[in-house]
Structure formats: C-alpha cells, structure tokens
C-alpha cells in the first residue's frame, strides 16, 4: 500500500517536472517572441525638447510638445471622463489632452504635460493628506488652506482667498499665494472630501492664459467618487 502511494507520488512529480520544463521553454520562447515583435514594431524616441544641436551643420529632429487649440477644445463636445488611479475623484477633459498619472503615487495625482516644467513638478489635481503637513489641521480644512504656504519655502503668504463652489456642488476655497519673489501665483482650489477629515482635494490651475476656458470647464466637472 505504502509502495503504491510512493510510486504514485513519484509519477506525479515526474509529470509535474516535465510540465514545468515545458512551461519554462514556452515562457522563454514567448519572451523572445515579445522581444522580436517589439523591436520590429517600432523604436522608442529620444526626446529633444528644443531640437538644438551644437555642430551647426544640421538640425536635429525634434519631438515638440503639441500646440493646443484651447479655444476649440473649450467648445468641443468630445470630452471624456477620467477617473483617478485610486478612484478617489473624476473629471472630464478634452480628448486631445492625455492625463499623466503617477502609478502608486501617495497623492493620487494627475496632470497634463502642457507647461515648460517637468510634469512631476506641475501637478494639477491631487488628494492631500493634511496630517502629513501638520496634524493639528486634521478636520480644519480651512485652517490648512489658509496656512498651506507655511509648508513650502517658495511661498510667503496668502494674497486672496474666497469660498468657492463648483457647478457639481463641490465646496471649498479658491486661493492665491504669494511666492518667494513677491509675485502672486495662479489660482489653487481646495475642496472638502465628505467623510474624510484628514484629506482635501487640491486642484491647481496649470493652464496658460489662453487655456483658461478649458480649465474652468474641467474644474466644474470635478467630482468626488463615492
């Protein structure tokens, strides 16, 4: 009886061993196939934001940021929904603008690559955790917004602040901060998140002057996902 069991186990292991070797070979062939297919399909791009070259003999081909027709975008009916990576908020945006997310980002942030600074340093919408700045503002969103500048060396104070409600009924504040060189920054919008006393939705106006109508429409479409 024991011998029969041992033989059965040995047979099981034998088949499993053969199967695992076959799976490994198939997997290696698959990886090789993917490598071959990807390398034939198309190469990546080396990015040249300025298209400069220093020999003066020829022009380096340049990958430029597309120039957007913001007026057309603002009127377009072709806007689509975007849901944040962690499903905390959503908004509508023109199809021409591709939302850049930062997978695994603690702030569930999103932005568009529309300014001359790296997208990572120019976030548009993010969920801020208040206690990460100062736990005493937990549950006191307005106090947090009024003192937000104190957490950044590059900001000096508040230039203007007012209560603000979007078309979707999101309630919060619109605020402009004074920067280190005494200029006034763009509008920042902070919205309370129902049931989340330690979080606040922060929307930063990253659009250029000609894109303000797009931003306003986008801002008014922002919703908290329940």
């Amino acid at each position: 009886m024991q011998d029969a069991k041992t033989t059965k186990e040995a047979e099981d292991k034998g088949s499993l061993t053969a199967l695992s070797i076959v799976v490994l070979i198939v997997f290696l062939l698959l990886v090789g196939g993917i490598y071959w297919w990807v390398s034939k399909k198309g190469k990546g791009e080396t990015v040249f934001p300025a298209g400069l070259n220093y020999t003066g003999e020829e022009t380096t081909p340049q990958a430029q940021r597309p120039s957007y027709d913001y007026a057309k975008m603002a009127e377009s009916a072709d806007w689509v929904d975007f849901v944040s990576a962690q499903g905390q908020y959503k908004y509508k945006h023109p199809t021409e603008l591709y939302p850049l997310v930062f997978p695994g980002d603690v702030n569930d942030a999103v932005t568009f690559d529309i300014a001359a600074v790296p997208a990572q340093l120019n976030l548009m919408v993010l969920v801020e955790t208040i206690s990460n700045y100062d736990p005493k503002y937990r549950g006191n969103q307005e106090g947090f917004v009024r003192n937000y500048h104190t957490f950044f060396d590059g900001l000096k104070g508040v230039s203007e602040i007012e209560e603000f409600t979007t078309d979707q009924g999101l309630e919060g504040w619109r605020v402009k901060y004074i920067t280190g060189d005494d200029s006034v920054g763009t509008n920042n919008y902070f919205f309370e998140i129902p049931g989340e006393s330690n979080k606040i939705l922060h929307v930063n106006n990253i659009f250029p002057a000609e894109g303000q109508a797009v931003f306003t429409r986008l801002l008014n479409s922002v919703e908290i996902v329940e």
Partner: protein
C-alpha cells in the same frame, strides 16, 4: 564530473517557477531594451527613475574603486557611509570584474535576488508544510507569488475597466512584492534566511551544546546587524518577532535557548544604536529621511483587507491547522507578519526617520499562501464528500481573481512616465560628452541644467560631483534650480556667475540637446572655454 549532483524533481519544478517569476520581474526592461532607438543607449530604468539613478550610481562608484557610498549630488557633502546603499558598491566590484555596465548589473541583480527569494520562500513552505504533498507546497508558493487585490469594475469611458483596491507602497501584486529594487529584494532574502536559520536553531536548541548556541547566536547576530545597514525596518520586524518568541517561551527554554536569544539581542541592540548615530551624521541620509517622513499613511482596516485581496478567503479555515502544530518556524513567520502590521500601524517609523509603509512586509503573502492551503485541507477534512467541490472551484476562481490587478500593474509599468521617462534612451553623443568630462582627472564639479534631471544621470558616467542633482540629495534644491536656470539663460552678471562657479568648485558646464536651453548665453561668458562639442552636447571648462 557531475557525480553527486542530483537535482530532485521537485527542485527542477521550483527552479522553473523561480526562473519564470524572476524574468517576469524584469520583463519590462527586456521590452524597453527592444525599443532602443539607433544611436541611443537604453538606461534600463526598472522603477522610479530618480531613485534608480542614485542606486545605479552606487554601482558606478564601486566600479571606480570606491569602498564607501558617497553623495554625488552635493558638492559640499564629502561624507561616506556603509548605510542604506552600500551594497551597490559591492555590485560595482562584480560589474568591474565581469566588465559589465552598471545598468546591466542592476537588472541582473534584480533577476537573481527575485530568483533566490522564491527558492527561500519554497524552503520555508516546505518546512512549515512538511507533512504535505509537494503539490500542496507548490500551490502555496503559487498563491503567495500571484496574489492580487480585490478590484471594482469601472464603466467610465476612457479609464481602465478595473480599479484595484490599493494604497501607496502596498505589496498588493506580484510586481509590487518583487519590487525591482535590489536592496529591497535583498532585505526580503535576509528576512527569509533569518526565519529559516533561527527557526532551525530554535527547533534543536535543547540538543545543542552551550558553545554551539553561543557561536550560532553570534553568527546570526552579525547577519541581523548587516541587515540593519540596508533594511533596518525589516530587521526591526524580525527582532520584535524574536523578542516575543523569547518571552512566550521564557519558562520552557533551557539555559542555552535563553542565552542564544540574549546574545543576539546583546550584540544587535547596541549595534543598532551605533548605526543610528552614524546615520545622523550623514547629510544625504538625513535629507532622504526628511523626505520620507512626509509620507505617513494609515489606511483603514477595510482598505487593508481589500488590498490584500482574495487570498484571504481560505485563510480563516487554515488557522486551526497552522496553530495546532506550532514549530519555531511557524511561530517566527506568524510573529514576523504580526510585527509587520503592528509596526506599520504605529508612528514609530516617523521617529526613526522614514514612512510607516517601510514596515509592511511582502512576506505576509507567504503566510497567507500557507494558511490558504491549510484552509483548503481543513475544508476537505470537515466536508469529506462536498469539500473538493468547494475547494477546487474556489481555488481556481481565486487564482483568476488575482490576474486582473497583476496584468494591470505590469501594463502600467510599461507606460509609467516615471520609468519610461524622457531620458530612458540617451543619445550616444551625449554619453560621449560625459565620457570626455570623465577623462579629465581632477576634483572639479559639473554644472547641468535643471531640465530632465540631467544632473541625476551624469554621475553614473562621470566620476565627478554635480551642483544640481535631485531633490532630497542636493541641499536647497529649489533655490539652486532657480540660480542655475538664471545662469544658463544669461540672466545674471558675468562676475556673479563666475563667483557662483568658484564658490562651489564647479569646473565644467555641460549642455545637451535634450534640455531645451540655448547655447548663446554660455558663449557670452568670458570665463568659459569650450573644450568639447558634438552634435548633441557641448562642454565648457571654467578658465583658471
């Protein structure tokens, strides 16, 4: 020649499993390499690019002969350390010996450490489930490796069809647990080795002599002390588990058992204090700690359970069989996981200079994988006739539920702008410019523009410091960023510009075609001398 080397069939199966999983952890690099444009080199970026440049820069330092890790991103910081990223110096020696590039060695290390981790996971499963058939042990391993979170379906146009439950730094999927960061993977390897070694020692502690107990304790203490240098939070989890196991068994352990635990703590605790004091002396570690401290995250229990996912379904049924026969290895794994979640829920990490997610261990999935299989066995025993009709379909459904989040995580890795960033392919011309600067042997620093974080990349290729590297390693980064922009744009007076260069020991100014700054302002500075130029890069030397 090969007499005596006889691979058991089960080992071949585990070899194949580990090899496939190891390759999966770097598959995105294979795809990235396949897309390399002509005249460019691929930087093999496997994870967040700015962290990668620091770590792979450590390999480059090791290749150049360094024995300690230095901060290349600060001209004033000359401190050296064995903490945190010292192991990359060692990988550099390996790269140097085999004449490999630091980037290739980084990728190979990820593969090897993933491969080794999976073998070690199997050894632990084999010890915990020693009475079970190999198929059950293998199934526990597959569960542990492939587990993924619960997810919700999205019907929103333009978004992914599923939204997995997740939180920052959670080990939710295979690709998160086998994070392609060598020192994280090495931390996992050390945790697994310690569970195996200490478990085995405690298992036979009553049969060994006092001398053997003493020697074993000293050797294992040194393993923990070394682990403290690069993975202190995982080492702390293990220490807490060890202390608890000692307290629980204090009346049952013989003298050599108590001595064994005492010696480990006696050596490790003072070493931990000394290492922490050293940590406080190293500016780059303090800057990095300060950045980490800002990311404390305490998800709700509901979010933790949903993120852990369907692997938990059979777990409650396995508890009885797990705790019925508690070997030291079972104790250690259980307490390791409990310590992990406990420390994660506290604010201790903040006071130790990091974020609490550092305490989350991917090995909790090893525990849950084992419990799942024990749960299935228990259901089979409780319901001899119906059991298999519950267990087999249930297990298959759970395995299928693991798939979407894993596939999505891998797909996101392929399109992630933090991995496939704009500098992932670097023109060979630019590298030649770097090599020119590297060929000049002096201790002068290099100035780069703030654009595309070129200063973070340059020290991989050049044995010199940069004035502007990256946040959390370069002091006053934002202030310097403005100064450097003004310099490259020619917005400051020549006299002031020259003073900045001299004050910071800057000897070389580089500008590449990727950065978007114009060359003309640099040509107007009277104190700069052009020393190298090709189609994509220009290098100036500061006149003496």
């Amino acid at each position: 020649m090969f007499r005596g080397i006889k691979l058991r069939q089960s080992q071949i199966v585990i070899f194949c499993t580990s090899f496939i999983a190891g390759l999966l952890s770097i598959l995105h690099l294979v795809i990235g390499y396949a897309k390399t444009p002509a005249d460019s080199i691929y930087l093999w970026i496997p994870h967040y690019y700015l962290d990668y440049f620091v770590f792979v820069g450590g390999i480059a330092q090791g290749m150049r002969g360094n024995w300690f890790f230095e901060n290349p991103y600060s001209v004033k910081d000359s401190s050296k350390t064995i903490m945190a990223w010292w192991q990359y110096i060692f990988y550099g020696k390996f790269a140097s010996f085999f004449h490999l590039s630091p980037m290739i060695v980084y990728a190979v290390t990820i593969f090897l450490l993933s491969f080794i981790s999976i073998w070690l996971m199997y050894f632990i499963i084999r010890r915990i489930l020693s009475d079970s058939h190999f198929l059950i042990q293998l199934a526990a391993l597959i569960f542990s490796l492939s587990a993924g979170p619960f997810f919700k379906l999205s019907n929103v146009k333009g978004s992914f069809p599923i939204i997995p439950f997740n939180f920052w730094q959670s080990p939710a999927t295979f690709f998160d647990r086998f994070d392609p960061i060598p020192h994280h993977l090495l931390g996992m390897v050390f945790s697994l080795v310690l569970i195996l070694l200490v478990g085995k020692t405690l298992d036979k502690i009553e049969d060994i002599s006092l001398g053997q107990a003493l020697l074993t304790a000293v050797l294992q203490a040194f393993i923990i002390i070394f682990m403290l240098t690069f993975s202190p939070f995982q080492a702390l989890i293990f220490l807490i588990a060890l202390i608890v196991i000692g307290l629980l068994h204090i009346f049952r352990l013989k003298f050599q058992g108590l001595l064994y635990i005492f010696i480990i703590l006696f050596l490790v605790v003072p070493a931990a204090v000394l290492l922490k004091m050293h940590h406080q002396q190293i500016p780059m570690l303090l800057l990095s700690s300060r950045a980490d401290q800002g990311y404390q995250l305490h998800p709700s229990l509901k979010d933790i359970l949903l993120t852990t996912g369907p692997i938990l379904v059979f777990v409650p049924f396995g508890l009885w069989l797990y705790f019925k026969k508690l070997s030291p290895t079972r104790w250690l794994l259980f307490l390791f996981v409990v310590s992990s979640y406990f420390l994660f829920s506290t604010n201790l990490a903040y006071y130790l200079g990091s974020h609490n997610l550092r305490f989350l261990t991917p090995l909790s999935y090893l525990f849950f994988g084992v419990l799942s299989l024990l749960g299935m066995i228990q259901i089979g025993r409780l319901l001899p006739k119906m059991g298999k009709w519950i267990v087999f379909p249930g297990a298959i459904i759970i395995l299928l539920l693991f798939l979407p989040a894993n596939i999505l995580t891998f797909y996101v890795r392929l399109i992630d702008k933090n991995i496939f960033t704009e500098t992932v392919y670097l023109k060979k011309n630019i590298v030649e410019g770097f090599q020119f600067i590297d060929s000049v042997k002096d201790n002068k620093a290099v100035l780069t523009t703030p654009s595309v974080f070129m200063g973070a990349i340059l020290p991989i290729f050049v044995d010199k410091k940069v004035y502007l590297g990256r946040h959390s390693f370069t002091p006053d980064y934002e202030e310097r960023q403005t100064t450097v922009s003004h310099f490259y744009n020619g917005w400051i007076k020549a006299q002031e510009a020259e003073a900045i260069l001299n004050r910071n020991n800057i000897g070389y100014i580089i500008l590449t075609s990727m950065e978007g700054f114009k060359i003309d302002p640099l040509l107007r500075y009277p104190f700069l001398q052009e020393v190298y130029r090709n189609k994509d890069v220009i290098v100036f030397r500061v006149k003496k």
